[in-house]
């Protein structure tokens, strides 16, 4: 298992638009990390560089000793799986199972291994009950899980989820939490972009804040969500319970309901 390192990385789109401006990141193998920040902060461009869809225009993206510059996107995507923000950018098969099987099929696995991967991925995401459906008949929130299953089935050591919480109901968010837990137990590195601060606070050990094309801060959710300077700079907000605790003058960097209950009751 390899660490993921971004060293002095910038990216300009053809035409000159600078989307990421000289950032550094170090994500350890097996870490579960969230990236937060405004629309346009450079989050999606950053993760697309991690999976080789984009190559940095300056600096290096390293997966262990593998520099993405020297490999094709197809080669990098065998190590880093990426779930697109919009599932419809990714879906092209007529059944859920076909969609999930497509990746493993290209990998020349034994039939047993291929089946195992497909079935596991369908099960982890809860998509097994829809395996014969046409993904395009499923609602958007479910199509997202189809694309997550397709990437999990590839068996990559690093996975990236781009805004999986968008449009999810509470059941969907619960399912995402469970998927993150299972992948973490399997030792995978998972990097998730999300606008849902409650989801970030309760599912990740480490948070990266991006703003205006740069990395503002790395930290635990407790550190990040009580660092008002960084939050303001990135135009982010504390989770609701943290805001209530702040107003009540309750200390202890509270970020979730159970923490808040304990702190308030012990006053």
């Amino acid at each position: 298992m390899r660490d993921l390192i971004l060293k002095d990385v910038s990216f300009s789109y053809p035409g000159g638009f600078l989307a990421v401006d000289n950032i550094n990141m170090e994500i350890k193998a097996g870490e579960n990390v969230a990236i937060v920040g405004q629309n346009g902060a450079g989050k999606t461009t950053t993760v697309k560089m991690m999976n080789g869809l984009l190559k940095p225009t300056a600096g290096d993206v390293l997966i262990g000793d593998m520099n993405t510059k020297n490999y094709t996107t197809a080669q990098v995507s065998r190590v880093v799986g990426y779930v697109f923000q919009n599932p419809d950018d990714q879906i092209f098969h007529s059944t859920v199972e076909g969609e999930v099987r497509y990746g493993p099929k290209t990998m020349k696995l034994s039939p047993e291994e291929e089946d195992r991967r497909v079935n596991d991925a369908l099960k982890i995401t809860g998509m097994d009950i829809y395996k014969d459906e046409n993904p395009l008949n499923l609602p958007l929130s479910m199509r997202k899980f189809v694309t997550i299953a397709a990437v999990i089935a590839m068996g990559t050591e690093i996975l990236i989820f781009d805004e999986p919480t968008a449009g999810q109901d509470i059941e969907g968010n619960k399912r995402l939490s469970e998927i993150l837990k299972v992948l973490h137990e399997q030792g995978k590195t998972v990097i998730t972009i999300s606008h849902d601060m409650e989801f970030v606070a309760s599912n990740f050990a480490r948070v990266i804040v991006m703003a205006k094309k740069k990395v503002v801060r790395f930290g635990t959710p407790q550190e990040i969500f009580w660092d008002f300077k960084s939050l303001e700079h990135a135009m982010l907000k504390q989770p609701y319970v943290s805001r209530v605790c702040k107003e009540l003058g309750i200390e202890g960097n509270i970020i979730d309901i159970d923490g808040a209950v304990e702190a308030i009751m012990s006053r």
Partner: protein
């Protein structure tokens, strides 16, 4: 009560389906009120929007029973003038963009052109709305060059510029960051101040709690609860029905269970701070 819209025992099924997507719905929408529609995915929220706009069944076909009345008149009896009365913002902004206009400015002006509004007035209204929705800087861009979040704001602008009496908005913030989301709610609030009626489907329940007047809860095509937001959003039994409740309501409930004497279950941040501070004081006495 000034009722702008009413559903009388409405059941609707999409073509080739057996199970109705909306079941025996009875609903009165009062003019000037802001209704938040919540419930798990697949519960019928988007179909409700389509029924209220008349797209189900006029566009989607399918079977409808019961009556949908707009200002007392059957919705099917309206022609094109319904588009002036009811504005509709689709869940997927790509569906909203006309595809026939080259710039965002023209896109936002498109509806007014169709209504035959004089050119000078179009320009004034479009500029006002673009300012309000913070998309002025995108005026000269192609609608197809926009990010998902920008497109959502353009879609919203292209509808509110028409100043319809009733606005139906389906998940307008799914692609937006927290700041962008708050700004969309602020825009909707301004529409409410203009005495518009608003029906908003939204998963971000804490913002519904902040801004809406009434909440409608859907599950399996049926409206299982409706009423004042304070009453609905503090009803813990709805959690078992797949509906989300505000973080502060859940916090309040858990504090009550631990024995903190909260006078009421809060639904907004401000209420939570007030009732918890009061209860802590009470306990010290």
């Amino acid at each position: 009560m000034d009722i702008i819209m009413e559903c009388k025992n409405v059941t609707y099924s999409y073509p080739l389906t057996k199970k109705p997507a909306i079941k025996e719905l009875n609903l009165k929408l009062e003019r000037g009120k802001f209704y938040g529609v919540i419930g798990e995915n697949g519960s019928g929220k988007t179909t409700l929007c389509a029924v209220l706009r008349g797209f189900a069944p006029s566009f989607y076909k399918g079977e409808i029973e019961g009556e949908v009345l707009v200002e007392g008149k059957k919705i099917g009896e309206y022609g094109g003038e319904l588009a002036k009365k009811i504005g509709f913002v689709f869940q997927n902004p790509f569906t909203q963009i006309s595809g026939v206009k080259d710039t965002v400015f023209e896109e936002v002006a498109y509806g007014l052109e169709n209504f035959g509004v004089p050119a000078g007035e179009i320009e004034r209204r479009v500029i006002d709305v673009m300012r309000m929705t913070d998309i002025e800087h995108l005026a000269e861009k192609s609608p197809f060059e926009l990010s998902g979040g920008q497109m959502q704001r353009v879609a919203l602008a292209s509808v509110i510029v028409l100043e319809p009496d009733l606005l139906i908005i389906d998940e307008p913030t799914s692609q937006l960051d927290p700041e962008g989301t708050e700004s969309v709610f602020a825009i909707i609030q301004k529409m409410k101040e203009k005495h518009k009626t608003i029906v908003l489907v939204e998963h971000k329940i804490d913002l519904i709690a902040e801004y809406a007047d009434e909440v409608l809860v859907f599950k399996d095509g049926a409206m299982i609860a409706s009423g004042d937001k304070k009453e609905i959003l503090s009803d813990m039994s709805l959690l078992e029905q797949g509906a989300a409740l505000p973080q502060v309501a859940i916090l309040g409930r858990k504090l009550q269970e631990k024995g903190l004497p909260l006078s009421t279950i809060p639904v907004t941040e401000k209420q939570a701070v007030e009732v918890i501070a009061e209860a802590l004081k009470e306990r010290k006495r």
